[in-house]
């Protein structure tokens, strides 16, 4: 914060200021309250005047080495100590260390009888005595208007108040005077007439049953200041004011990459991840695993040893940790090592601006490298307000180089619900998760709608949430478009079958050929065998023939001989 203040243009006539130690307030007032002058802090009952004033003193004592005096006209010192103990203020310790004096001025109208002239010198004496006791530089009068209820003589009172504020200026203490809001004027008895160097108005407005505290600098003599109404927050860690600076688009950008936490998804981006300091929107239907993606992103941020701040608006931290365990990651170890911080709250707990203030404070305190908001669609309200809130949140992150990861629940199956469209222009990268319904089942598909400043895949990719992480499956594009789930598996099986049958046909034809070749060869062999048989028969016949001829010759000779002998 101080860095940013240092970069503010130096005012020509620079007024000495006393820092309140409430960062947002010091930013809005460009340095703090006017030093050595009284400031009026007014507002209706219950808007945090006393707490803000006490914070001013405690911060002075603990952080700036300036002692303080708290003069209370309403609450008793013990009650005050107890009331602010909830903010972690150790008032008793500060009192013991002589850094703080608490003086309760009891105003009890019924006890007082008036006879003749009087003045309020004892208040001056008391205050002067308390200031001298600790060497106080800061004084709070809470609520000095209570005097009006105790004393009827308003002319005396007003003259004395004027004298008191003059006296405070002479003493050179920076004073905060609280005042109850009156009808048509800032305070009930119009003391703003006397204290007018700086007037801060606190307001507590209820809209749609949701309360938003707001703070406005009504006037600040001799200094420029933020003029808007700024939301502020009071909770266990004190008062935070959200300075909505006119956030220009002047933040430094980074070309460093930050992985998505899902290795398969990284490959869809030309860079291999998101740009550091960019804002990422992950929109999707119910049950598409938005939180699981967020979980892996958080896991990867923390695994690299960086801090991650996770704003959960739908689940408690324990529930997220348990659910993520089933998705294959252990977030508990990151929580234990202090790298991961969950901030859970129901969206209806505060108004949008209070949420923003709270997130701003948490971001300032935790200084994360990445912020996850799960989901932004949980915010209900006028769309323009949601848009403004997210714009500021995105700016806060960009200004600090924090990668912001938003999830958003889409309502209809069209991949851009109203809210998405409203914020999409704020986002540098937009990943859409959707369901594809076909053949009696739903399958999850993601695609990258846009990613500024880098090439990215144009494919629709089916993904599975497994116990080993998120797995993207190679796309299968069939004749009817992208096939997913069992349709993809069926198609793959069909293709396998076809391939198988194709190879079987080839084999059969090969076998046929082989068989025919065998048959042919057999036939050839048979024919050759027949030929050989015939040949051998012919040879035999030839032998026989020649033998018979011989026999015939012999026989004829023998017969001739026989015949010859007989003749």
């Amino acid at each position: 914060m101080t860095d940013r203040l240092a970069s503010q243009p130096v005012e020509a006539h620079s007024l000495a200021k006393t820092a309140t130690g409430i960062d947002g307030l010091d930013a809005v007032t460009l340095g703090g309250l006017p030093e050595g002058r009284p400031t009026l802090l007014c507002g209706s009952a219950g808007c945090g005047k006393t707490l803000l004033a006490m914070t001013f003193l405690v911060n002075g004592a603990t952080r700036f080495g300036e002692a303080g005096v708290f003069m209370s006209f309403e609450e008793r010192a013990e009650d005050l100590v107890e009331n602010v103990a909830s903010l972690g203020f150790d008032i008793d310790g500060l009192v013991a260390d002589k850094k703080l004096v608490i003086d309760h001025v009891r105003v009890e109208p019924s006890e007082i009888e008036v006879s003749g002239d009087y003045d309020f010198e004892p208040i001056f004496v008391r205050l002067g005595y308390a200031i001298d006791q600790v060497g106080a530089k800061r004084v709070v009068l809470d609520t000095i208007e209570a005097l009006f209820s105790g004393f009827k003589d308003q002319a005396v009172l007003r003259a004395e108040l004027r004298r008191l504020f003059g006296w405070l200026k002479d003493r050179g203490v920076t004073a905060v005077i609280t005042g109850e809001r009156g009808d048509g004027q800032l305070t009930r008895y119009g003391i703003e007439e006397y204290v007018s160097d700086c007037v801060i108005l606190l307001d507590n407005r209820v809209h749609d049953q949701v309360t938003t505290r707001r703070l406005r600098i009504v006037k600040y003599r001799g200094s420029s200041h933020g003029t808007n109404e700024y939301p502020f927050l009071i909770d266990g860690s004190g008062v935070s004011v959200m300075p909505i600076t006119a956030a220009g688009l002047q933040h430094k950008i980074s070309s460093e990459k930050i992985p998505t936490g899902v290795p398969d998804l990284d490959t869809m981006f030309g860079l291999g991840g998101f740009y550091r300091g960019s804002s990422v929107l992950l929109s999707g239907l119910a049950g598409t695993g938005k939180s699981t993606f967020s979980g892996w992103f958080a896991n990867s941020v923390c695994t690299r040893g960086e801090r991650c701040l996770y704003f959960a608006f739908e689940e408690s931290p324990d529930q997220i940790v348990r659910n993520m365990r089933s998705a294959g990651m252990d977030l508990q170890r990151h929580i234990d090592s202090g790298l991961l911080s969950f901030q859970s709250a129901r969206p209806s707990l505060y108004g949008l601006e209070m949420h923003l203030t709270r997130m701003y404070r948490d971001i300032e305190a935790f200084k994360p490298a990445a912020v996850i908001v799960d989901p932004i669609s949980a915010f209900r309200g006028v769309e323009s307000e949601i848009h403004a809130t997210l714009l500021r949140l995105a700016d806060i992150c960009k200004e600090r180089g924090i990668t912001a990861f938003f999830t958003s629940l889409s309502l209809a199956s069209d991949h851009a619900s109203e809210a998405d469209r409203g914020v999409s222009s704020l986002m540098d990268t937009w990943i859409s998760l959707t369901d594809v319904e076909a053949s009696g089942e739903r399958n999850r598909v993601l695609f990258v709608l846009k990613s500024r400043g880098m090439s990215h895949s144009n494919q629709m990719r089916e993904y599975m949430l497994t116990a080993e992480g998120i797995k993207l499956i190679a796309p299968y594009v069939g004749p009817e478009g992208v096939l997913t789930g069992s349709a993809r598996q069926a198609q793959e099986a069909r293709e396998r079958d076809e391939a198988l049958s194709r190879s079987q046909v080839t084999e059969r034809r090969q076998r046929d050929l082989d068989r025919r070749r065998a048959t042919t060869e057999r036939q050839v062999a048979e024919l050759r065998a027949a030929l050989e048989a015939e040949e051998s028969e012919v040879a035999l016949l030839a032998n026989q023939e020649s033998g018979r001829e011989d026999t015939l010759v012999a026989d004829r000779a023998a017969m001739a001989m026989k015949r010859g002998a007989a003749e």
Binding site: V107, E113, S115, G116, D117, Y118, D119, E121, P122
Partner: protein, 109 residues
Amino acid sequence: MTIQAEMAADPAREGHYNLRLYVAGQTPKSLAAISNLKKICEEHLAGMYTIEVIDLLIRPQLAAGDQILAVPTLVRRLPPPIKRIIGDLSDSERVLVGLDIQSGEPPRP
């Protein structure tokens, strides 16, 4: 500064008035208050009062300790209950009412 009544006053006696007057410095208002108080006491409480004048400029811690808002403030510490009157005590009727003293009827010694 304690002003004892000239007559022998016995602080322990019943009906004794123990009064304390807080002032801040020797202002005309303080001086008027002191003299007015003395006059009223002498007239109505002769011999049975003690007045203690406390200057807050000298003992500032008593401003907080005794919850004094305005000066001059007259506190009736005894008899109980504690009563407070602010102002320079110029209106003696109101002082008598405030101190719970019936006027016009000096108490018998």
